[in-house]
C-alpha cells in the first residue's frame, strides 16, 4: 500500500531495490565473493555478446590450420577438425548458461512450490510428497540423469527436464525446513486469524522468510547444474554435436589429447572456472543474506 511520502522518517526507508544494491555491495566486500561474482558476470556477458566476441563461427573449419597450438590468430589453438577453440568456448557459454540457468530456475520454482505447500500443510500430504522426493534423492544425480535421458532420448529439452527432476526435491527440502520453522510463528497465526487466503499466507507472510535460503540454494544448484550439463555433454547424452558444448568439446578432444591438449584444456578450464565462480558467489550470497537476520 502507498504510505504518504511526506512522513518525516528518521529511519532509512528500505525498499527492494535498495536491498538488491546492499546485497551486491556485500558480495563485493570480500575478495573471494567479489572474484566469484566477477567471474559469473564475465561469463554472462560472454553468453550474451558471444557472437560479437568470437572471431570465427563455431563450426568454421580451417583446413590449412588443423591442430594449431595457441597463436595470435587462434588464441586457444584449433582442434583436430581445424575449428577455432576460442570461438567455440565463447559461443558455448550461452548454451550451458541457458540450459543450467533455465533448469535451475524451473527447479527452484517447482521446489519452492512443493516445499511451501508440503511444509505448511504437513500431515499425510507432506509425508507423501517428501517420501517421493526422498526416493528420487536416493539415486545419484548422474545415474538418474542417464536413466531419464535413456528414456527421453538425448536433446536440450531432455537435459532441462533432467535438471528439474534432479534438483526440485533438494530445493523443496530446503524450503520446507524453513517453512516448518516459520509457520507456527505469531505473524502467520495472525494472518490466519484475519482469514487471509492461502496464497497470501504462503506468498506474503512465509515466502519472504524463505527467500534468503532459497537464493543461496538456487546459486548452489546453478553451479551443480552447470556441472551436470557439462557431464552429460561429455558422456554424449546431453547436447549433441556439432554444438559447442564444453563437456562435448572435452569428449571430442579426448582421443587427441597428445596432439591437441589445448582443445581439451580450455573448455575444461571454462567449466571449472565457471563452477568455482558460481560457488564463490553462492558463498558470498549466503553471508550477505543470512547474516542479515
Amino acid at each position: 500500500m502507498s504510505l504518504s511520502p511526506t512522513t518525516p522518517s528518521a529511519a532509512p526507508s528500505v525498499t527492494t531495490g535498495n536491498n538488491l544494491l546492499k546485497t551486491l555491495r556485500k558480495l563485493f566486500s570480500t575478495p573471494t565473493s567479489a572474484l566469484g561474482t566477477s567471474i559469473v558476470i564475465v561469463f554472462v556477458l560472454l553468453a550474451i555478446f558471444g557472437p560479437l566476441i568470437a572471431p570465427y563461427g563455431m563450426n568454421e573449419q580451417f583446413y590449412d590450420a588443423l591442430r594449431q597450438p595457441p597463436s595470435r590468430s587462434h588464441w586457444f589453438g584449433t582442434d583436430h577438425l581445424g575449428r577455432d577453440v576460442f570461438s567455440r568456448v565463447v559461443l558455448g557459454a550461452r548454451d550451458i548458461l541457458l540450459l543450467a540457468g533455465l533448469g535451475t530456475l524451473l527447479a527452484v520454482l517447482a521446489g519452492a512450490f512443493f516445499g511451501l505447500i508440503s511444509g505448511y500443510f504437513g500431515g499425510m500430504f507432506d509425508e507423501g510428497v517428501m517420501r517421493f522426493f526422498d526416493s528420487l534423492l536416493a539415486m545419484p544425480a548422474l545415474l538418474l540423469a542417464l536413466l531419464l535421458l535413456g528414456t527421453f532420448g538425448p536433446s536440450r529439452n531432455s537435459v532441462l527436464i533432467v535438471i528439474i527432476i534432479v534438483y526440485t526435491p533438494i530445493v523443496a527440502r530446503v524450503v520446507r525446513s524453513v517453512v516448518l520453522g516459520v509457520k507456527h510463528k505469531g505473524f502467520v497465526e495472525s494472518a490466519r486469524l484475519r482469514n487471509e487466503s492461502l496464497g497470501y499466507i504462503l506468498g506474503r507472510e512465509i515466502l519472504p522468510s524463505v527467500l534468503p535460503a532459497l537464493t543461496v540454494e538456487a546459486a548452489l544448484r546453478f553451479s551443480y547444474a552447470i556441472f551436470l550439463v557439462a557431464s552429460l555433454g561429455f558422456l554424449g547424452v546431453g547436447v549433441q554435436p556439432p554444438n559447442p558444448d564444453w563437456g562435448l568439446m572435452v569428449n571430442e578432444a579426448r582421443p587427441h589429447v597428445s596432439t591437441t591438449p589445448w582443445a581439451l584444456t580450455f573448455p575444461a578450464a571454462a567449466i571449472a572456472i565457471l563452477v568455482i565462480g558460481v560457488n564463490l558467489m553462492a558463498d558470498g550470497l549466503k553471508r550477505a543474506l543470512q547474516g542479515a537476520d
Binding site: M1, S2, L3, S4, T7, P8, S9, A10, A11, S13, V14, G123, M124, E127, K185, G186, F187, E189, S190, A191, R192, L193, R194, N195, E196, Y200, E205, P208, S209, D293
Partner: protein, 335 residues
Amino acid sequence: MSKENGQEYIIQVRNLKKHFPIRKGILLREAGAVKAVDGVSFDIKRGETIGLVGESGCGKSTTGRTILQLLAPTEGEVLFEGQEITSLGSSNLRRVRRNMQMIFQDPYASLNPRMTVGKIVGEPLEIHSIGSAASRAERIRELLEIVGLAPHMINRYPHQFSGGQRQRIGIARALATNPSFIVADEPISALDVSIQAQVVNLLDDLKQEYGLTYLFIAHDLSMVRYISDRVAVMYLGKIVELGDCDEVYEHSLHPYTQALISAIPVPDPESTFVANRVVLKGDVPSPANPPSGCRFHPRCRFTTEICENEEPEFRNLGTTLQAHYVACHHAEDFL
C-alpha cells in the same frame, strides 16, 4: 458498547475440547490423544476481563486459540455474541473475525520481520477492505499513536524496536479492525518486568476507552489479579475454579488454586507471616493419560477415595449474583 442487541455475554464456551492425536508408525495410526483442552465451559461478559491462569502445558493457550478458531475444536461450541462460530464457513468466519483478535506472547515472533510496521498494522485493514488507501494510512498512524508509538516510525522494521515497542505494535495490529473481543496470550511474559507494567496499563486504558473484552492468559498471578475482573484457574485441560478475582484470591476453594496463590512471592518474606505455604509434590501428569477421577488427586493434600474414582462436578458454591465455580469434592470444607 452493547450495540449488539444487548447481549450480556460476548463469548460463551460450551464443553470445549481440543485433542491432539498422537500418531505412530509409518501409517500414522492414531495411538492416543493429548487432551490439551478437555471439556471447558465458561462465559465472558461484555466489557470484562477474564484471567486464565495455570501451569505451563495446562491448555491455557490452546483454549484461547480454539475460541478464536485458530484451532478447530474436537468437540463443543463457542458462541460469539450468541452466534455459534465453530461451524461457520470461511466468508462468515471472516466477518466474525473482524471482531475477535489476538495479542501474541512472543513479540519477536509475532511480527513479520520482513514487513514495515505500517504494513504490519495495515494488513488487517487490507484484508477486510476497510477504507481507501489514504484513510488506511491515516488509520495506521492513528493506531500507532493510540499504543504510544510515534507515527513517523511507520516505515521501520520490527528489528528496529525493543520488545515492549514490538508488543505495542502487536496491540496496534489487534486493534486495527476495532474488535470487541481480544485474546491476550501471555502478552507480557516475554517482556522485562519494568515494561510489563507499561503494557498492562496500556491494555487497561484501551479497555476503558474502547469497551474491549479481554481473555487474559497468563501465569503471573499478581498481574492477573491486577487486570482481571474474574479469574479462571486451569489444570490439565480443565477449569478447576472460576470466580470473581478477589473472591478466588482471598477465599480459594480448590486446593490447586490455594497452592498457586500461596506461591505468589511477597515483598518482604521475613516480615510477612507466610501461613500455609503449600508446596505441590510431583509434576503435572501427562495430558495424554490424565489421572482418574479428579485430575489433581495425585498431587492433592486432601485426597480421599472419592477423588480417585469420581470426577468432581464443576459447581457453583457462590451466589447466583456472584458465582464462584469450583471442581472439587471437598470444596465445602474450605468455605
